[in-house]
């Protein structure tokens, strides 16, 4: 047999062997058999020195060509087998993509705190500082310094939980305003909001709670006006209830402010046209406000002939109930999981 015949024979043997194998592992053995140290091709190469010098280049080139060809054949088979193996693996990994994933639900901030944070952020943006204070307060800070002396009939309006004669659970966050003004020493301007828990003697029912959350605001400076109060509250109403809302100030009475007003927002359900939600008035009451009473300024160290200020206060539960249409204030404190889950972050 001449060289060519030998190589052709070898090639058809190799092809047959490759065809027979369907495992990557045996492919390695085949490679050794046809291209390894003891392979026929390698042995033929060793015979090169016996070939005529003139024929040697052709002889060498032929064998090298065969070697390249054999390598290609093996690699082609390898690729095919690898592709097959991958396909088998993928087939085995078939899943039902319609099955649900694990319930990696994130928790939710409580809706009351969510509203508090929303309002805090709004006011931080307007340059307010968030102030807090104790819930067990003195009669002086909760009432007396706020123009509610011991026998004032308006104390009835917020019947309170006393602990001793002089200490009680605060009925509003206004004592934080007093504390802040006293801290400022009667000289520096004040621009704060005070969120927090407050307590009043109400029987718990769908619309009353002995504990609730309040946010109050206070600005004291030499030039703070009722128009500033109005503009500020309009900003709040629009941020909370939508940019097309308007507000209305109605005369009211609080011992700590003068003038005092109740603030209504145009009904966000009917746009002020009248509906059951706003009792056909077009307006919904959202908060109380006013210009700080001189007595309160004086009691907290501010000279009312120099300083004037505005204050406002709103119930967080009320805002949440209006905003989300929640029908029972007790839900906030019962914390049924089905309730908690409803308010997205």
């Amino acid at each position: 047999m001449d060289l060519k015949q030998t190589l052709t024979h070898l090639e058809s043997k190799l092809k047959e062997a490759l065809k027979q194998t369907d495992k990557l592992e045996t492919l390695q053995d085949i490679k050794a058999e046809y291209l390894g140290k003891k392979a026929e091709l390698t042995l033929l190469m060793r015979h090169m020195k016996d070939v005529d010098a003139a024929e040697r280049p052709v002889f060498g080139q032929t064998i090298n060509a065969a070697k390249t060809r054999f390598t290609e054949l093996i690699e082609l088979r390898r690729e095919a087998l690898e592709a097959k193996r991958l396909e088998d693996r993928l087939n085995a990994e078939h899943i039902d993509v319609t099955l649900p994933g694990p319930d990696f639900r994130l928790g939710r901030p409580h809706v009351l705190n969510r509203i508090v944070m929303e309002i805090e952020d709004l006011f931080i943006g307007m340059g307010y500082i968030i102030k807090e204070g104790p819930e067990i307060e003195s009669d002086a800070y909760n009432f007396e310094k706020l123009n509610l002396p011991k026998d004032h009939p308006a104390r009835d309006m917020q019947d309170s939980f006393f602990i001793t004669e002089e200490r009680l659970l605060r009925t509003h966050t206004s004592p934080v305003q007093v504390r802040t003004m006293l801290e400022q020493g009667g000289r520096k301007p004040v621009k704060i909001i005070c969120p927090g828990k407050v307590y009043r003697r109400d029987d718990d029912d769908a619309t009353h709670s002995h504990q609730f959350m309040q946010i109050e605001g206070l600005v004291v400076d030499t030039n703070t006006t009722m128009a500033d109060l109005k503009g500020t509250l309009l900003t709040v109403a629009r941020a909370m209830f939508g940019e097309h809302r308007n507000i209305r100030l109605r005369p009211s009475y609080f011992p700590f402010t003068e003038p005092s007003v109740e603030v209504d927002v145009t009904c966000f359900k009917c746009n002020g046209n009248g509906c059951p939600m706003c009792k056909h008035t077009g307006y919904i009451e959202i908060l109380g406000a006013g210009m700080v009473n001189d007595f309160v300024l004086s009691a907290s160290g501010y000279d009312p002939s120099i300083y004037q200020g505005f204050a406002f206060g709103m119930g967080v539960e009320r805002i949440a109930m209006l905003k989300y249409g929640i029908d029972d204030i007790r839900h906030f404190y019962t914390n049924d999981i089905r309730f908690l889950k409803q308010f997205s972050t």
Partner: protein, 784 residues
């Protein structure tokens, strides 16, 4: 206060509709609760009953022929009091009664009935105002066919005001008229009273207490007790006051008109021409009009006839001197009593009335004499009264109050408006406030009918509200400041973000809980802070840990088959000395639920992992855990948490007996002090350069005594490993086969690094050998 539109229009002629006026009240004065027709019925006619015969088919019915002016109608009537010759209210076919009931021609038991004879209740007038069981018999002689509502003065609309406590002036029609005059810029006409009296005072007034500021008394004789005129009854009903008889009605009518409460004594029963006002002594008793004996406190105001008490001043008259149907002589009282005293007495005795309300909010002392004279005139007109002598009185009220001074600049500076002096002049005139203006400074006299106007701020409110707050621009404060959250507020938000990110829902629970539950789940050994007078035992004391409420949340949800509860609260621990902020977590059931895949049930380590993740995200060092015994917790699954040696709280499994009693599964809770977290919270964690050289990892399986805490082993390894040991983790804990009962095997993963160079394997091997040798000597541990 309920305003009768008809009455108001008598005081202030205006054509405004009740709805429009209500809207103005809301914006300029007081909140309007309702605007309602006094009687919501249409098509009612006065009828004259010509004949009345029994119904042939029904004993309880009558068949009447009723003249209704243009025709005579046959009407079947069920009322037992119907009779011929009566004037009655007829709802003819087509008439509409309250509730939208339309009257039609009907046949009742074979007799045609063309309408209905009405009772007052059928007109929508509450029974409490008339106490009439049958049809209403009209007393006035009105022509048949007249409009019934008009004839009975029921053609009225009521505006109900929700009054704020400062506006005592609006507790009278006069006061309301003043406010309406200001709102509408109209003149008002209050009734003028001119009485002719002569002679010596018929009664002598003495007072022994400063709590009686003034007292006017007038004696009237030849009184005839009868029903008051219909117009008066209708107005009382509109105001929400029940008509009784002419004497009582006139006192109430004048009170509603002027705001001055009046009282009428039976002068014969009084049996004295002297009235002495004094303060009660503690424990003194007095029988009030309602025949109840009241025990008095020192300082309550008593009206006496010089011997015994006859009235509790400003609160209620006495049973002994009550006006009866036989009364012929009256002593009419118009007085001013101390507001605070009347308020206290009426509250304490739970005797709050229209009178006490007005005294409590302060009556207008300048109206007292007017009210006495006005009532006298009405008694003459409607009760046949004759005046006896002159009135007796004592009056210590004074109206010499300094005027209020305010500049136009201040008004605008406070309101933020640009009002002119002409505008302010006009508003003050509309309010009938006497003032003078020099340049831009106003001097405003105090008026007794507006006792709420005390300071310049009150005047600003008047200018603001009558002008309308909608007139003010919307501006923002010019005060410039940097808005910010405090570090504590920031930390709170970071905790909230981390824990919600870890799948926990935030809750808010009550701070007040029952006393016996306060110490629960708490390591604080202090008496709870109790509310002096709790509304219920359920909310009687302040919590030591929010866990009290969180446990209730778990119970509530479990009862609703919601067993996967993962919640936290940022709450407070209240003690007598201080309030400290606490973070409480409760986990029960499953944390992340894997649905059709295998879900691990929450255990101690789930909660611990959540807390460790929280500490990590806050940049805080890892906490240490010391086994702890606490009666509310599982004895062997509870630990005290320490942060850098400081105890910060507790973590553990709620005692299985407790959870079983409450039908709960395993419940794991944690309660830590937020302030310490804040204290230890670093401003920012220092940057760690990234490791340049490869690290070497070694796994060890070491057998030790089962009770040896992992922490002990880990600490020993850390000490032995030195700086090169950068990470150490427990990846397996094994007990069981191939080990003794009291042995366990810990699978530990150690990671070594050298920041300066590539570590050599033999260096690490030497370190590991050293560690193992140490553990063997110290704890008898060996490689598995």
């Amino acid at each position: 206060m309920n305003i009768s539109m008809k009455w108001l229009k008598e005081l202030i002629p205006c054509s405004i509709s009740p709805e429009e006026l209500g809207a103005l009240f809301t914006v300029h004065s007081q909140e309007v609760a309702r605007v309602e027709a006094l009687v919501r019925a249409k098509g009612l006619t006065i009828g004259h009953v010509l004949t009345c015969r029994p119904h042939p088919q029904a004993d309880s019915l009558r068949v009447c022929e009723v003249d209704v002016g243009d025709t005579v109608l046959g009407i079947v009537c069920g009322a037992p009091n119907v009779a011929a010759e009566q004037r009655v209210i007829v709802a003819r076919p087509g008439a509409v009664l309250p509730g939208g009931i339309t009257i039609e021609h009907t046949v009742i038991r074979g007799e045609a009935s063309a309408g209905m004879i009405c009772s007052l209740s059928e007109l929508g007038i509450d029974y409490k105002y008339h106490h009439e069981d049958g049809i209403h018999v009209v007393r006035e002689s009105v022509a048949p066919g007249s409009d019934a509502l008009e004839a009975l003065h029921f053609d009225d609309t009521v505006i109900g005001l929700d009054l704020t406590p400062n506006r005592a002036d609006l507790l009278s029609m006069h006061g309301v008229a003043y406010d309406v005059a200001a709102m509408l810029d109209l003149p008002l006409t209050l009734p003028h009273v001119a009485l002719e009296t002569a002679g010596e005072p018929a009664v002598h007034i003495r007072t022994q207490t400063p709590r009686c500021l003034s007292y006017y008394g007038r004696v009237l004789k030849s009184i005839v007790i009868k029903p008051s005129p219909q117009f008066m009854q209708a107005r009382l009903i509109a105001a929400g006051v029940r008509p009784i008889n002419n004497v009582v009605d006139i006192t109430n009518y004048v009170m509603l008109e002027t705001g001055q409460p009046l009282h009428a004594f039976d002068y014969d029963a009084l049996d004295s021409d002297t009235i002495v006002v004094r303060e009660a002594e503690a424990g003194e008793t007095f029988v009030t009009l309602d025949d109840k004996e009241r025990t008095l406190h020192a300082g309550d105001i008593l009206i006496t006839n010089g011997r015994e008490a006859v009235a509790l001043g400003g609160v209620m008259g006495g049973a002994a001197t009550e006006v009866t149907s036989h009364t012929t002589r009256l002593l009419l009282e118009a007085a001013v009593f101390d507001a605070m005293t009347v308020g206290k007495t009426s509250r304490r005795l739970d005797l709050r009335s229209e009178s006490s309300l007005r005294f409590e909010r302060k009556v207008d002392p300048e109206k007292t004499r007017y009210a006495l004279d006005r009532a006298t005139a009405l008694f003459i007109e409607y009760a046949n009264a004759e005046i006896v002598g002159d009135k007796g009185y004592f009056d210590d009220t004074s109206n010499i109050e300094p005027p209020i001074v305010i500049s136009l600049e201040k008004i605008n500076a406070v309101l933020g408006g640009r009002y002119s002096d002409e505008h302010v002049d006009a508003i003050l005139k509309r309010l009938h406030l006497p003032f003078t203006r020099a340049s831009n400074t106003y001097t405003i006299d105090r008026v007794s009918r507006r006792q709420d106007l005390l300071t310049y701020q009150d005047i600003i409110e008047e200018i603001g509200r009558i002008s309308g707050y909608d007139q003010l621009p919307n501006t923002l404060p010019s005060t410039v400041a940097q808005g910010a959250l405090s570090l504590r507020q920031q930390l709170r938000r970071r905790i909230r973000a981390a824990l919600t990110g870890l799948g926990l829902d935030e809750v808010v629970t009550y701070s007040l809980q029952s006393v016996d539950r306060i110490g629960r789940f708490s390591t604080l050994h202090e008496a709870p802070v109790k509310v002096a007078d709790p509304m219920t035992d359920l909310h009687a004391a302040l919590i030591h840990t929010p866990l009290t409420g969180l446990y209730d949340v778990a119970t509530h949800n479990a009862a609703r088959r919601q067993h996967d509860v993962n919640i936290f609260e940022l709450g407070t621990c209240y003690t007598a000395e201080q309030e400290t902020e606490r973070l409480a977590i409760l986990m029960s059931g499953h944390h992340h639920y894997y649905r059709w895949q295998k879900t691990p049930t929450t255990d101690f380590y789930t909660l611990k992992g959540v807390f460790e993740a929280l500490l990590d995200t806050l940049g805080l060092p890892a906490a240490r855990y010391e086994p702890l015994r606490h009666e509310d917790f599982h004895p062997y699954q509870t630990a005290r948490i320490l942060l850098e040696g400081t105890p910060i709280g507790i973590i553990g499994k709620v005692h299985p007996k407790t959870t079983a009693d409450d039908h709960l599964g395993d419940v794991f809770v944690l309660d830590v002090d937020v302030s310490i977290l804040l204290e230890k919270s670093p401003d920012h964690a220092p940057y760690q350069p990234l490791q340049k050289y490869p690290s070497i990892e070694r796994d060890l399986a070491l057998v030790c005594d089962r009770t040896l805490p992992a922490e002990t082993v880990l600490e020993a390894i850390k000490t032995q490993g030195g700086a090169a040991l950068v990470h150490l983790d427990v990846f397996d804990v094994y007990t069981g086969e191939h080990l003794d009962e009291n042995q366990k095997s810990l699978g530990l993963r150690l990671l070594f690094e050298d920041p300066e160079k590539t570590l050599e394997s033999k260096t690490v091997d030497a370190l590991v050998d050293k560690i193992v040798a140490h553990l063997k000597v110290t704890y008898g541990m060996f490689r598995r």
